[in-house]
Symmetry: C2
């Protein structure tokens, strides 16, 4: 099994890489080759350097001519396409967002199609979409048949890529699956300036004895999964077959619907009351207005019936962070 | 009011042109300029040649560099983008379909955006989408919040253009509206080989004393509007303002949900029993299978509340054909 990961230097990409190297296999098949690409060269761990898997790393710009062709030249059996510029940047720079998030994906699918037309090459193709494909107003719970009305250019680009993927899937060019990931929480690392950052900040910073700012009300609800669950989703996606999935290959993933209050209650239960005291309430109208357009709750029946599973409490999500990020 | 029509040589485009020239105004504003573009040079009538409107015609390929920029160089106040290669050709030729139906639209929106960024230019932009953005399985009636799952590359390209239009609309680059037109019936002219052609053929040919083939069962249901109604939709769309429309700028238009049996009953009532005898039943499994994936019925509440209106019986649709196509 040869695997290509595009976006391998990101948080999800590097955790996926580490998981695959440790497991040595996916969907019961041994991994023989791993090609890791990103706009900056992905770094690999000591473990990776002694792995039996042949690992290559590449710093590439997917929008440049010939890059997509080069990445699929070895005909990987499984392609993870995780690469994207984030929401804030795609909103600030119209051209860059469309170039990378839309054209990059299209070039990749075109490069696969050229090989497909030539020799029948049909890789598995796992694409990370986002709940940003949805825009308010929403029903109480977004089901698998609710329409996509993105309210950002990032969400628009993800929705367009979903449509391209579905068309290539229908034509048999790829065995494609698009995953609308919940907001990943608790993101490890430093606080970031993304509007959604506070959902992780208000847990991660207090766990590490630092203060964090809460810019919205306790009643704000959102849709979450841990980084560990995100990786489990990506691995699971590689085992779904085309017949099971059918033509509607872009799916809402399960997650945990929780309010900020429920996040804070879990923090108190798992870490203690002192941690909660480190959360400073500083209402921010700009962030409140952005968050008001975000989806709150999903009915992810299709994904659940396909075997995808998420956390069922914020206590678990915090526990995952403690186990995966605080143990070393 | 300066108007650009792209796709002006097609059936809908030429009827729209004729309507605008005869009316001399749209949305209570006088039309001063009309730029008619298509892959072949649009022909204009004698009436047009004596019109007070300054009319220009151009044969252009929208996928070539500089063309989109040239078409918007005079900053038309209203742009009708009707141009597309049809479903069958987009399915047969992947690259051509995406080049014309997706890239062509993107170049046009990019050319508008360049002017917008420069001087605030923000034209009205009316885009003809299609009910081909929907794919089976369907609910009993497709409402305005049902997701887009096209089952053809043509439908995929239309759905992608809807997303691009909505993003440009949200950003204030255009005042955009996307119209998911019902199947137009009765199409004038010769029988064509489109899978949907029989819906028009079984009425038009008998009206003209010729035989027509019915390849599907009488029970097949579909969603229809007359060519005259399609033009009314396009004219109405120019008068909808952005506040009324909101960010969900692509809408299902009203139509008439009718079975083939109801079409034939109307033909008998309006034209006579002899006409019905000219319909030859020759079941075609390929066409039956294609039609089985087509939408049958819609709940077009949003468009109706915005003031769009369609026919309410097939008798009316046949009458429109008799008045508009048989009177000369």
């Amino acid at each position: 099994m040869k695997i290509l990961i595009i976006g391998a230097a990101g948080m999800v990409g590097s955790k996926l890489t580490a998981h695959l190297i440790a497991a040595g296999k996916i969907d019961d098949q041994s991994i023989t080759q791993l090609l890791l690409a990103d706009i900056v060269e992905p770094s690999i761990s000591d473990a990776a350097q002694t792995s039996a898997i042949e690992i290559q790393t590449r710093a590439v710009d997917m929008t440049q001519a010939g890059i997509a062709e080069a990445l699929v030249a070895d005909e990987p059996d499984l392609i993870y396409h995780l690469a994207a510029i984030v929401s804030g940047e795609a909103e600030a720079d119209f051209d860059k967002g469309y170039r990378i998030n839309l054209d990059g994906t299209r070039y990749l699918l075109d490069a696969i199609r050229a090989r497909h037309d030539n020799n029948g090459y049909t890789p598995k193709f796992v694409f990370t979409s986002s709940i940003a494909v949805y825009g308010a107003p929403f029903p109480e719970s977004i089901d698998d048949e609710f329409h996509l009305t993105p309210m950002t250019s990032y969400g628009t680009q993800k929705a367009i890529c979903e449509l391209l993927l579905a068309d290539c899937n229908r034509r048999g060019i790829v065995q494609g699956i698009g995953l609308r990931l919940p907001t990943i929480c608790i993101r490890p690392g430093k606080p970031n300036l993304a509007a959604s950052g506070f959902f992780s900040n208000i847990l991660r910073e207090p766990i590490n004895g630092k203060t964090a700012v809460l810019p919205v009300e306790d009643t704000v609800r959102h849709w979450f999964a841990s980084p560990r669950t995100a990786i489990r989703f990506l691995v699971k996606a590689a085992s779904i077959n085309a017949e099971e999935l059918g033509p509607r290959c872009n799916i809402n993933l399960p997650g945990l619907c929780a309010t900020v209050a429920q996040q804070i209650e879990a923090l108190e239960r798992v870490v203690g009351a002192d941690a909660v005291k480190l959360i400073k309430r500083e209402p921010d109208e700009t962030i409140r207005a952005i968050v008001a357009n975000w989806p709150e709750n999903f009915d992810a029946q299709r994904a659940i019936s396909l075997g995808f599973e998420a956390e069922s409490s914020f206590d678990e999500i915090i526990q995952v962070y403690l186990e995966d990020e605080m143990s070393s």
